[in-house]
């Protein structure tokens, strides 16, 4: 499966320090995955799960995904989020994002460059993003080919299955 390295999506804006527990509250452990995703951002942005659409993009501020190892990125992907852009990204969250098939780019200046509702044009291979409304282009940290390969497979578990490490 080839990774579509060019994405365009509608932007949802979030602030700094968006933590894993906001995306995946402790109460959802043990629920079916689709139900887990329904509780995403219930504490800080209730109702958002009903508005988000397949192909949408999240733009966050500093320290996105701070917190726990819980599968928060899986919930975002379940809801249709196709890319995460943020000023800086917590490393554990970045790894989980990759492993659950969600591209994530750290892009300095991204929070100021997009309003909610804008489209974001994203080149994952180059790590570049563009706001077609303003014409502004930003350079982020591209994901290395090794990590793009994991995302292209749909996440780490599908890749492990392909390679015979898991059933």
């Amino acid at each position: 499966m080839a990774l579509d390295t060019h994405l365009i999506g509608r932007v949802w804006k979030f602030g700094d320090d968006i933590n894993t527990d906001l995306m995946y509250p402790s109460t959802v452990y043990g629920l079916p995955e689709a139900e887990q995703a329904r509780q995403c951002f219930a504490a800080n942005r209730p109702g958002w799960v009903d508005e988000v659409r397949e192909g949408d993009v999240i733009v966050g501020g500093r320290n996105y995904g701070t917190g726990s190892s819980r599968p928060a990125a899986r919930s975002l992907r379940q809801l249709g989020i196709r890319c995460l852009l943020a000023e800086t990204i917590n490393g554990l969250f970045l790894r989980n994002a990759v492993n659950f098939g969600l591209p994530a780019l750290a892009v300095p200046g991204v929070a100021a460059a997009f309003d909610e509702g804008d489209l974001a044009e994203i080149d994952l291979a180059a790590g570049r993003v563009r706001n077609p409304r303003t014409g502004q282009e930003l350079q982020g940290t591209p994901l290395p080919p090794m990590l793009r390969e994991i995302i292209a497979a749909g996440g780490l578990v599908p890749l492990l299955r392909q390679r015979g490490y898991v059933e």
Binding site: D17, D21, P25, Y29, G30, R62, P71, G91, N99, L160
Partner: protein, 415 residues
């Protein structure tokens, strides 16, 4: 060419490269892999192989003992997994401890090595000069199957700590202060060095390394010195080679912090970076629950500090003071030394070792609008129970003093 920082050097060795620079992605051989009970909650893909059973440690910590049917099933699957692959290092209920404390006690977090675990506080092992960080559950499947994982090397910031900590001001207050003053270090490694560190116990270093996760660090590293050697030699014969930064290593920043005038520091509800205040700013805030425990502060030193403060006193009638040692070993020592008796005499509750109240799963869940002052790791909204509960973070001394007072209190006032 510039030298390397501690993280760069350890990553280079583990990746079989001469050098590693920030910005590079490397694939490293893992020395120890930790599999938690949490990884067996819900569906889990079935592994076909484990690369080296002798390097795998299985730990019941988040759900120990099982508090509900889902946890009990997880434990049954965990045991079946260990048996299927002939895993010998299994720390089930009765031999349990929080994984980050256990690998320390077992001498399995060694200087210059790489340790893998899903949990976000895995950077705790950095106290032992060990490259370790949380990897999440899917990555652990890959590690268990192949014995390898990738790391994106980030730049390193070095903290040089000097000065003597004042009475009742603890390493926990130091890391709170750093978080409050400097904010997060997402994508970066931290090194902690200097005379204050040299004089600090392993327990204090473990506290700082553990809490560095709340600053979103990649690795939080200490040097291995005589204190490290004394701790490890009492527990293992395994050989190791300490790794020091090169004198000409390149740092993103070097910060000098003098701790000699530090006040106890409290993290306010919601997050830790840029959200810390001196205890005097929040003293008087009424609390309902006080907690000493977790991988951050559940060690003998922390339990002893709590006991010292509550001895001869009683927990305020409006407060539950829960104490959860971070391992069976810590609990046994605390019993032997009379610490548990002192705590119980003061009307504190002493539980078995587990993660417990820290993540709101069991053993002290918070109710609506309750306020908790805790020495555990995290204060995100909803973390320890009801979403309306407010969580403040403090050192074991601050927590114990506050349990007595019924509100957030300065432990130095009880000297």
């Amino acid at each position: 060419m510039a030298g390397m920082t501690i993280a760069e050097k350890i990553l280079a060795r583990a990746a079989g490269q001469e050098r590693v620079r920030p910005g590079e992605i490397v694939v490293c051989e893992v020395d120890v892999a930790v599999q938690l009970d949490m990884g067996f909650l819900g569906e889990r893909p079935a592994l076909r192989q484990v690369w080296d059973p002798s390097r795998v440690v299985v730990v019941a910590d988040h759900l120990a003992p099982a508090a509900d049917p889902a946890s009990a099933e997880a434990h049954v699957r965990m045991r079946a997994f260990a048996e299927q692959f002939g895993l010998q290092h299994v720390y089930d209920v009765g031999r349990q401890g929080i994984s980050h404390q256990l690998v320390a006690e077992l001498g399995m977090a060694l200087p210059g090595t790489v340790l893998a675990n899903s949990d976000s506080h895995t950077c705790a092992a950095g106290a032992f000069n060990c490259v370790a960080r949380g990897l999440g559950a899917p990555e652990m499947l890959y590690v268990l199957a192949t014995g390898r994982t990738w790391y994106l090397c980030g730049p390193t910031t070095r903290f040089v700590l000097s000065g003597e900590l004042p009475p009742r001001v603890l390493p926990r207050d130091v890391v709170h202060y750093i978080a409050g003053a400097y904010g997060d270090f997402a994508g970066q490694n931290l090194e902690y060095v200097g005379p204050t560190v040299a004089a600090m116990s392993m327990a204090g270093r473990q506290t700082i390394a553990t809490m560095s996760a709340e600053l979103s660090v990649e690795f939080a590293l200490f040097e291995a010195d005589a204190t490290t050697d004394a701790y490890l030699r009492a527990r293992t014969d395994a050989p190791y080679t300490p790794v020091f930064a090169d004198p000409d290593a390149e740092y993103a920043a070097v910060h000098h912090v003098d701790v000699s005038a530090l006040e106890p520091q409290v993290a306010l509800p919601g997050r830790v970076p840029h959200n810390v205040a001196p205890v005097s700013a929040v003293a008087g805030t009424r609390i309902h629950q006080a907690f000493v425990g977790s991988c951050a502060n559940g060690r003998l030193e922390d339990l002893a500090m709590a006991a010292e403060i509550v001895k001869g006193r009683k927990v305020h009638p409006n407060v539950r003071f829960l104490v959860t040692p971070s391992s069976q070993q810590q609990l046994k020592e605390a019993v032997r030394l009379g610490i548990v008796e002192t705590l119980l005499e003061a009307d504190a509750v002493v539980t078995n070792s587990t993660c417990g109240a820290c993540f709101g799963g069991h053993m002290g869940v918070l109710g609506p609008n309750e306020v908790c002052l805790t020495a555990s790791t995290r204060n995100f909204q909803g973390r320890m129970g009801h979403p309306s509960a407010q969580i403040y973070l403090g050192s074991p001394a601050t927590v114990a003093a506050s349990a007595i007072a019924g509100c957030i209190a300065d432990p130095r006032d009880l000297l």
